[in-house]
């Protein structure tokens, strides 16, 4: 019988071919991603063919230019007010997708400013070859060479992948986008100029655990395909609502899919990679991951859970509530015990993932809007905070141990002041974006009756304020030691990134209305 089928398909390819339809593609709607992917491809060519001395400038202007063009296109598409599912329903360009794509583009520009900084360290924060044995002659040699410009196409690919990730309307597209933005990040983590061993460790850890979570994700997709016979989110929703399939496949598939997504947002218990990777990766890349990856991962999480798995049909809320509570508590409590500023910020980013989950779990328009706003506000704060971390240096590069920050306020009042402001924003003090964003997600959750979540959220915020304020106290009230590191004068690019981050944090705290309105208008998913 199998032979018959084979013979028939060989004899009549026309029958099969006629079933293939070319999907309609709305090229304007996906133009932002195409621009960025195109720029990344051109960047690969530039890395190979542009003369060495021009490469850095060409690459930086290419990636920043592409991001700005993409941002312009996103605004154009958003103004046209269209919400479409295009490319055979594989990509949905709707309110949340456009808002998140815009966020990725804006935060991406700031992150690229940090990445492109070359005046703090000769040749920039990156080396050319990630895989050389640390401490070997070749590795010591490359520490003196200017860094590779391949960093910029890699960042473009990662950002374009994130844009695809937040608009993917099909589980397979979602998976492809996941890999497109993850693979460059794995590599970028291993390129730190200083502390090569730590950097390589972080890259390998991120890669292995990321590959593991991808496998979970893919297995979940396979099981859900078994359940619904389709991978499109809309088709999945119909199958879930009809409820006549094999529910074992549905629950197992949903769980595994959730593991893959929660790994990327760094929710407890899938968070263990975060501190090590955030610490070992080059600080600008850590900033990129903390800001943009978080936006992308939460965007996909929101879309998958809202569109494909309506709560009326399959109630995943209790599990995610438990995860959100664990995330907030573990992140906050472990942040208290940290002695390294990058690890502290990593645990704080875990706790913040819990707060965004609170907004997601409100399951209302206000909740979605609150989460979107939170992601943008948090992205700016965390970019600026890691920007400050790149400035506090001694002879061995960045001085990330907290004891080295003692007395920094006396030596460099401006940088200490900026960092204090950012810590206030993290802690959620009023007049900073931290307050407005926390207020947005907590009030949305309260409006949906998630009292437990809000109580835990507020309590963990109080706990989390302690490590932030401890850094502030350390900077101002401790005597500067002999070996307190000097604060480097920021280069133009870092200064610009810091200014944007701090301004946005202040603006979103004082006058959040425009962005909140934008988020509130952008809550409708299509499928």
């Amino acid at each position: 019988m199998a032979a018959e089928v084979l013979a028939r398909s060989l004899a009549e390819p026309a029958v099969l071919a006629a079933d293939v339809k070319l999907p309609d593609i709305d090229y304007l709607a996906i133009a932002p991603m195409l621009v960025l992917f195109g720029a990344a491809c051109v960047g690969v060519l530039a890395a190979a063919f542009v003369p060495q001395r021009l490469r850095y400038r060409v690459q930086v202007s290419l990636v920043i230019g592409a991001l700005l063009v993409a941002l312009g296109l996103i605004v154009t598409v958003a103004r046209a007010g269209r919400a479409v599912a295009t490319a055979g329903g594989a990509i949905a360009i709707d309110g949340p997708a456009l808002f998140l794509q815009g966020s990725v583009a804006v935060l991406g520009v700031v992150a690229v400013l940090l990445i492109a900084e070359r005046s703090l360290e000769r040749g920039g924060a990156f080396v050319s070859r990630a895989s050389l044995t640390p401490g070997s002659a070749a590795d010591r040699d490359q520490a003196e060479q200017p860094g590779a410009t391949e960093v910029y196409p890699l960042v473009s690919f990662a950002l374009a992948g994130m844009m695809l990730f937040v608009s993917a309307n099909d589980l397979l597209t979602l998976f492809v986008a996941l890999e497109v933005f993850s693979l460059p990040l794995y590599l970028l983590c291993g390129l730190a100029r200083r502390r090569r061993l730590l950097s390589q460790e972080s890259a390998v850890k991120y890669f292995l655990l990321g590959a593991f979570s991808s496998a979970f994700f893919l297995y979940g997709v396979a099981l859900l395909y078994g359940f619904a016979g389709a991978t499109g989110l809309g088709a999945l929703r119909k199958a879930v609502q009809a409820g006549d399939g094999n529910t074992t496949l549905l629950f197992l598939g949903l769980a595994m899919l959730a593991v893959g997504l929660l790994f990327k947002v760094a929710a407890v218990p899938f968070h263990v990679w975060t501190p090590d990777v955030y610490q070992g990766a080059p600080t600008p890349i850590t900033a990129l991951m903390a800001a943009c990856t978080k936006v992308a991962a939460f965007g996909a999480l929101l879309r998958v859970f809202t569109v494909a798995f309506p709560v009326g049909a399959v109630d995943w809320r209790p599990v995610l509530v438990a995860i959100a509570i664990a995330t907030m508590l573990v992140g906050a409590v472990l942040a208290v015990t940290q002695t390294d500023i990058k690890r502290l910020l990593a645990y704080s980013s875990i706790a913040n993932a819990g707060y965004v989950l609170t907004g997601v779990l409100a399951l209302s328009a206000a909740g979605v809007a609150g989460s979107l706003f939170y992601l943008v506000a948090y992205g700016f704060v965390v970019l600026a905070a890691f920007g400050v971390v790149t400035l506090v240096r001694d002879a061995d590069g960045e001085a990330t141990h907290l004891s080295r920050w003692a007395g920094l306020g006396r030596r460099s009042p401006l940088v200490a002041g900026v960092f204090t402001f950012l810590m206030m924003a993290f802690a959620g003090i009023p007049l900073t974006s931290g307050f407005t964003s926390k207020f947005a997600v907590f009030s949305a959750a309260l409006g949906s009756g998630q009292v437990t979540l809000v109580v835990v959220g507020v309590l963990s915020s109080a706990v989390l304020a302690f490590p932030y304020l401890r850094v502030v106290v350390l900077m101002y009230l401790s005597e500067p030691a002999e070996d307190t590191p000097t604060v480097s004068l920021p280069g133009t690019l870092t200064a610009a990134a810091l200014a944007i981050g701090v301004l946005a944090t202040a603006l979103l705290g004082v006058a959040p209305a425009p962005v909140l309105d934008l988020a509130a208008k952008a809550v409708q998913f299509v499928s």
Binding site: M1, A17, L22, V44, L45, A48
Partner: protein, 123 residues
């Protein structure tokens, strides 16, 4: 059930027969042969030569690049075959041709980069 999994029955049968054949052959071999171990006999067989060094040897990392490029273009051809069946049919036309050109162009970009960075040189 019957119609869907039935077509796999032949394959399943073949697997069972294959595993059985393998097991019977080796068990018969073990049961019938004389068993007289000797140090010479227990060394690795390497085309009649005396084996040199241990069995835990590093292989040249450079092969990885070639294997990688090979896989890349082997996978590309998987996409090319179904495309070749449909691209001249009504409703496809130049767009389909251009899309495949873009796809191959992106892959060629990688090869171009590898060539320019002298990855393909064997030195």
């Amino acid at each position: 059930m019957g119609s869907y999994l039935g077509s796999y029955a032949t394959l399943g049968l073949l697997l069972v027969v294959g595993a059985g054949f393998f097991a019977v052959a080796f068990l018969a071999n073990r049961a019938l042969r004389p068993h007289r171990p000797h140090a010479e006999k227990l060394t690795s067989y390497e085309c009649g030569l005396d084996p040199v060094g241990g069995d835990w040897a590093q292989s040249q990392i450079r092969y990885y690049v070639y294997a990688y490029l090979y896989v890349l273009f082997a996978v590309e051809s998987v996409f090319l075959f179904p495309w070749a069946l449909v691209f001249d049919r009504p409703g496809f036309g130049m767009v389909t041709l251009a899309e495949m050109a873009v796809f191959i162009g992106v892959l060629a970009l990688g090869l171009l980069y590898a060539w320019r960075k002298r990855v393909l040189h064997w030195t």
